[in-house]
């Protein structure tokens, strides 16, 4: 193997190792790796400075930042809190109803909020209601964590990995829904059912819920309605503008500007609250993967993998699903998406087969994210929040539930992909 390829692979592996072990923050690990890639790449003439400038996909960053601004303003308005409050109120103190409400609300808010932010919101709601009703918060908490991870899979903007894959594969908002919406609904129902079976004995008894009005928690009603309108507009434009040549990043940035104008909030404060850690991690990691692409190693891996799978779309789809699913149980799903997207992109598929493989990658990278306490930041946060409330969850207890749900989700997704894309007998 060429020495330069070896250096680039080492930089990639070192970045993964440093970020997975949290020796340094994700962003610092990726930016450090990007700096080394730039240095060695230009020194050894793997790429030119001008070529390196194109490694970072600005469209992806625009989509990410635009969506973050819209969602940050919606969060400040209390929109998601009101949703969570209504979900709890709907239960009327019935533990089974409360369990279903918490699960659905968790998945729903995570369709818009980043997973860590959704976790903070749902953790606060769950702890409070568990205290009021004197329930053990653990089953609600762990179920919310798993549902937050699943909820992020549901739309193009639901998770960062979806945005990465969507941009690389040129999958529009409606195409995304067309391929995966039915699967997502069924996965939600199946996962909630499995979690209910696991936690049913620990949910507690029926209690009287205190009277409260969710809308009373809103201090600025004008901002609340404006935020709801802009969020609705964002989804509406994603669905309707795709044939007019405006990309999702244009819609996201447009809505972000509109949100900043209409909300009248201090933009500096909004920008300060954005998840820059993720933005810089993605920028840095894209650069590292861009460098790897220049060495042709990703094309070689792609050829090797799909040769191994053979000409059958059945094998290549299921291999992508399970391989990315298992990999994302240990490595951040953003890193998995950034690595696998160019590998799959380098392979030429015909017609529907490419949609099947891309859909498999979307499902795989997301579903592995809540298998163990170390699978994603959202899991670590859930464990940390429980510890703050004086409850310790053992690694094995979390992993048992996470492993069961992940295997069921990946197995169901396999069946769905086979049926949806007619993979048998092709």
């Amino acid at each position: 193997m060429d020495a330069t390829i070896l250096i680039f692979i080492l930089i990639y592996l070192l970045t993964i190792l440093v970020s997975a072990t949290e020796l340094a923050p994700l962003s610092v690990a990726a930016l450090g790796g990007a700096l080394l890639t730039a240095w060695f790449g230009i020194q050894y003439n793997v790429f030119t400075y001008e070529e390196a400038l194109g490694f970072v996909d600005m469209r992806l960053l625009a989509l990410l930042i635009g969506t973050m601004v819209v969602v940050e303003i919606a969060k400040r308005s209390g929109l998601f809190r009101v949703l969570a409050l209504y979900a709890v109120k709907f239960s009327g103190g019935n533990p089974a109803k409360l369990f279903f409400s918490v699960c659905i609300a968790s998945a729903f808010v995570s369709m818009f909020l980043s997973d860590p932010m959704a976790m903070l919101l749902m953790a606060a709601a769950t702890v409070t209601i568990a205290k009021v009703l004197k329930y053990d918060p653990t089953p609600y908490f762990l179920s919310a964590t798993i549902m937050i991870n699943l909820g992020g899979t549901s739309t193009l903007i639901g998770s960062v990995s979806n945005m990465i894959i969507g941009m690389e594969a040129n999958i529009s908002f409606t195409e995304f829904l067309n391929y995966l919406f039915v699967c997502e609904i069924m996965l939600w129902a199946l996962t909630i059912f499995v979690l209910y079976i696991i936690f049913k004995p620990k949910l507690g008894e029926k209690k009287t819920l205190p009277e409260y009005k969710p809308l009373e928690s809103i201090t600025n009603k004008t901002l609340f309605y404006k935020s709801a309108f802009i969020l609705f507009l964002l989804v509406f434009l994603f669905l309707t503008l795709e044939n007019s040549g405006v990309g999702p990043e244009g819609v996201a940035i447009g809505c972000a500007i509109l949100a900043l104008i209409l909300s009248k909030l201090d933009p500096a404060e909004i920008f300060r609250e954005l998840d820059w850690e993720t933005v810089f991690f993605i920028a840095g990691f894209m650069f590292i993967v861009g460098g790897l692409e220049k060495t042709q190693i990703l094309t070689d891996i792609s050829t090797w993998l799909f040769q191994m799978a053979g000409p059958s779309p059945f094998n290549s789809t299921l291999m992508t699903l399970w391989f990315s699913g298992i990999a994302s149980t240990v490595v951040s799903n953003t890193a998995i998406a950034l690595t696998f997207a160019p590998i799959i992109g380098a392979h030429v598929f015909s017609g529907l087969n490419s949609s099947a493989v891309w859909s498999a990658l979307i499902l795989g990278t997301n579903l592995g994210g809540a298998t163990t306490p170390f699978s994603g930041s959202v899991c670590a946060m859930a464990i940390g929040a429980l510890r703050r409330e004086g409850i310790s969850v053992k690694f094995g207890d979390f992993a048992k539930v996470g492993l069961i749900t992940t295997i069921i989700q990946l197995s169901f997704s396999s069946l769905y992909l086979i049926a949806r894309f007619g993979l048998i007998g092709v």
Partner: protein, 87 residues
Amino acid sequence: MINLAKIKKWFGSRKLKRERTYEEEKREFEMAMGKPFINIRIEIPDGFEELRALFLSLEKDERFLEEVKNLVKKRLTYERQGLKPPS
């Protein structure tokens, strides 16, 4: 030389920010679903500086807290009856 203590502090501050956000969210939910509460900042009155220690101990003084609660009850009772609270 790399200052490890500074780096450690920087890493720690990221965790603290999340913990603060979590506590803020929890407070919002407690206010909406549980018993609402208020936090009041009271500074030591001018001319009582020599009683600083005693003043600070009031924060955990059960009898004092009970007196404040009674004051709140009295105020709310006046408001409920539509009477002007005594100044």
